[in-house]
């Protein structure tokens, strides 16, 4: 179960159970997904771990390898963010900054219905599911049949079956199923030609529902934006979201240049004396007196951006389903298709 579970009063705290997905944390930048199987051992670079030892332990525990190995790992509870870091890529995936922005700007909340195409590696799907559960639903589609099957099995295993439905469908060619018309609070597209799906997305969205398209190339964004208004969308916004990570360590910095010079001179002198056969370094330092109180350096916490970073993932284009007033005569006819779809939706609600 990747999502939080209800914790009624008096319920015991959650512990690791057989069959659970857990995140095996070996060290920084080394994590893997493991499905707990109490009958198996797991081999890691830090030793061999019988998984039956894990069952019943709280998440976040440190587990020691069996035998003489001094190794240990930590077992973390899965989260959509951790899953994104450990999942096996079936396609290119979305990363933390985009995922966070998509969930926030689609204004997802429990009870919402959201459409996603394509499913891909299911990275975003987990976050969408977390945002709309309970009561909401994620309808996710992929044109690649095998991916669909793998994703479906994975969601079931992660306890998302009640929240997520995966379907094999070429959304770019066929649009979303008619049954979803007027039923979505939000639509997310990660397709090569999102402009082909705009009318279908508009038909699915409730008035004021939010549309989002992710595209790596600016040409895709340009085409999509040109077509948005005619498809019944308003308030388009295109953006990039990136994360810059920082590293820290403790360093020493020269803060007193005179002292540093003196210390260097003393060290050189002492080295020379040593070479000349005179008294040792420690003694020389003693003799030197005041000048050797310190080397003029002081410690500080150095923080600096990680050298390499993602410079681009893609552009996010958001827009809202146009709202027409309720109970007013529809005027104008140039956007007849979207108007009728909308009237239809308004009538439904």
């Amino acid at each position: 179960m990747v999502l939080h579970k209800e914790q009624p009063l008096g319920a015991p705290p959650r512990t690791i159970a057989d069959g659970d997905l857990v995140i095996l944390y070996e060290q920084f930048d080394s994590m893997k997904a493991v499905y707990v199987d109490a009958k198996e051992n797991i081999q890691s670079r830090f030793g061999c771990f019988p998984m039956k030892d894990w069952v019943g332990k709280p998440f976040g525990s440190r587990m020691c390898a069996k035998g003489k190995s001094q190794g240990w790992v930590h077992i973390l509870a899965p989260t959509p963010e951790l899953w994104t870091q450990v999942l096996r890529h079936r396609t290119q995936i979305l990363y933390a900054a985009d995922i966070a922005m998509i969930c926030a700007f689609l204004e997802l909340r429990p009870g919402c219905t959201v459409l996603e195409s394509g499913t891909g590696s299911g990275s975003l799907t987990h976050s969408l599911a977390r945002a709309v559960a309970p009561g909401g639903h994620v309808h996710t589609f992929d044109f690649h049949e095998k991916r669909t099957e793998e994703a479906s099995a994975e969601f079931a295993r992660h306890g998302l079956a009640p929240i997520v439905t995966v379907q094999h469908r070429n959304i770019e060619a066929l649009g979303f199923p008619k049954e979803l018309h007027g039923r979505a609070d939000a639509v997310f597209l990660d397709l090569p030609g999102p402009w082909n799906v705009l009318e279908s997305a508009a038909a699915c969205l409730r008035p004021d529902g939010v549309f989002c398209s992710f595209s790596p190339c600016i040409e895709q964004v340009q085409r999509t934006c040109t077509a948005l208004a005619a498809a019944g969308f308003t308030a388009p916004r295109t953006m990039e979201c990136l994360l810059r990570a920082y590293e820290v360590n403790s360093q020493r910095m020269v803060c007193d240049l005179d002292k540093a010079d003196a210390a260097a001179a003393a060290a050189a002198e002492s080295k020379k004396r040593k070479r000349d056969g005179s008294s040792g370094a420690a003694e020389g330092r003693q003799n030197g007196g005041v000048m050797h109180a310190g080397d003029g350096k002081e410690p500080f916490v150095a923080v600096y951006p990680t050298a390499e970073t993602r410079g681009h993932t893609g552009y996010l284009t958001f827009a809202r389903r146009l709202v027409n007033p309720i109970g007013e005569a529809v005027t104008g006819s140039e956007d007849a298709p979207s108007v009728s779809a909308e009237a239809h939706i308004a009538a439904q609600q």
Binding site: Q7, P12, F59, L76, A100, Q222, C241, R244, V248, V303
Partner: protein, 479 residues
């Protein structure tokens, strides 16, 4: 979803011409300022949020728009790949201002008096511009927009969500929300693993923006404790902008961190005052097998008593809560109310909301662990699942060290600050002490783009920072 329809009494964000934003309350008979006019939002009640409208020529009636300006025909004429040097070159037109406009201010005044609406005036201005026809389509669109901004107050009533509330505050009064940008807020929610059924500890001085955004994601499930240090809970009045239903309000509680720590250690040391001084090992072993039974038993025992306490709490703190809300809100929301709608005074408004809702609502403040609702007590004993800290003027390490004992092992935490160095020091300390895993210090970089035919480029002026975020997962220390 019912929350998509505008209801009387709703708080909302009023967007004027896509640039100016105010917080309004939709109330029959009250008026808000749109451009230079005061208008009444009555007719919006029952419409969908997102409805666009402008003022009719009478300066009062709202006319619903079909957003024609949004899709004028620029796109179809200028090609993405503008062919050769644009033959309509604007360079000769520079710096002449409105010298090419034949309609003068007095003419426009006359049109207004004749009852012409904003759109009609804009059309007249375009028709009477000597240079409009010779401009590129892009320049025509810009010109039209400039005139529209001036003569047509085009407005949208926006549903209050974490997104719209955060963006409106960031533009209007960023210091009230500690300059927390919408992208950083989005990241905090994701990286702290906020979701339904979670038990979340929030410590914030962002006016309630974080608490509100968390509550929105939880949809009335789980538990949100807004912890604080010092004597008085900081303002949380941004929470009221969300139009939360009773279930959401009921899921929010405020308490001092001292009380929570106190409560955490209660089963073991009933009555002891030194909750904060308990060795950290105590709670880490709590969820382990042997301690678990005890915890269960306690929770079971506490349950009935807890319910009683919660009620008592709600009653006894009713007046207090209302007072607190009215008190703290005078800073932010009253100001909004005064600007947006000066028919009802802001203070009345706020006090009334406070009084109305304090019974079911959240803002129950508790100084000692014994008064806390049982759900909170259970969370304290079992540990919170998620934690967001957003008090930039408290040292992150000091605060995190204080609250770590309250978190369940494997709980995700996210710390927001406007300053890099204090988070860096916190990160290094955590790496050394190994109190947490997968610790990351990150900064969000966010830029919007103008996508227009032949004129696509990133926005020229952007916010330079949305703050820094430190995240990680608490671990159970080796037993």
């Amino acid at each position: 979803m019912e929350s998509c329809i505008i209801r009387e009494g709703d708080n909302a964000v009023l967007d004027i011409n896509g640039s100016h934003k105010t917080f309004v309350t939709v109330r029959r008979g009250s008026t808000v300022k749109m451009g230079k006019a005061m208008c009444c939002l009555d007719s919006l009640i029952g419409q969908y949020y997102g409805i666009q409208f402008e003022l009719a020529a009478d300066g009062q009636t709202l006319v619903f728009k079909r957003a024609k300006l949004e899709r004028d025909d620029v796109a179809t004429v200028d090609k993405w790949d503008a062919n050769g040097t644009m033959n309509k070159n604007n360079s000769e037109l520079l710096d002449r201002g409105d010298a090419n406009q034949n309609l003068k201010a007095k003419d426009i005044e006359a049109m207004r008096e004749a009852g012409m609406g904003g759109e009609a005036i804009v059309e007249a201005l375009l028709a009477n511009s000597e240079t409009y026809e010779s401009k590129t389509h892009f320049a025509q669109a810009k010109y039209r927009k400039r005139k529209a901004d001036k003569y047509m107050a085009q407005a949208t009533l926006i549903r209050p969500t974490a997104r719209s509330v955060a963006e409106a505050y960031f533009v209007k009064s960023p210091q009230k929300i500690q300059c927390m940008r919408a992208d950083s807020l989005a990241l905090l929610l994701s990286l702290a693993n906020i979701g339904a059924h979670a038990r979340v500890l929030v410590v914030e001085t962002c006016g309630g923006l974080v608490t509100g955004a968390v509550a929105e994601r939880m949809g009335g499930t789980g538990l949100i404790v807004s912890g604080y240090t010092g004597l008085k809970a900081p303002s949380l009045d941004v929470v009221r902008q969300f139009n939360f239903p009773a279930s959401s309000k009921a899921s929010m509680v405020t308490a001092t961190i001292t009380a929570l720590l106190h409560c955490r250690s209660q089963p073991a040391t009933e009555g002891a005052c030194s909750g904060a001084d308990q060795p950290a090992a105590a709670v880490e072993t709590l969820p382990a097998q042997p301690a678990q039974d005890t915890a269960m038993a306690d929770a079971g025992t506490g349950e009935q008593a807890g319910d009683a306490r919660t009620e008592r709490l709600a009653e006894s703190q009713c007046t207090d809560a209302a007072t607190t809300v009215a008190d703290t809100s005078t800073i932010g929301v009253v100001e909004e109310a005064e600007k947006g709608q000066n028919s009802t005074t802001g203070a009345e408004e706020v006090a009334r909301i406070g009084a109305q809702s304090s019974a079911q609502q959240s803002a129950s403040t508790s100084g000692s662990g014994r008064e806390l609702p049982e759900a909170v007590q259970q969370a304290c004993r079992q540990g919170f699942d998620c934690c967001i800290l957003a008090s930039p003027l408290v040292q992150p390490l000091a605060l995190l060290r204080k609250v770590l004992p309250l978190l369940a092992p494997s709980a995700a935490f996210a710390v927001f600050s406007n300053y890099l160095q204090p988070l860096a020091e916190c990160m290094l300390a955590l790496q050394v002490s190994k109190e947490a895993l997968a610790v990351q210090l990150q900064e969000s970089w966010w830029r919007e783009h103008q996508v227009l035919p032949g004129r696509t480029h990133p926005e020229m002026v952007i916010s330079a920072t949305g703050g820094y975020i430190l995240t990680g997962y608490k671990v159970a220390p080796p037993s």
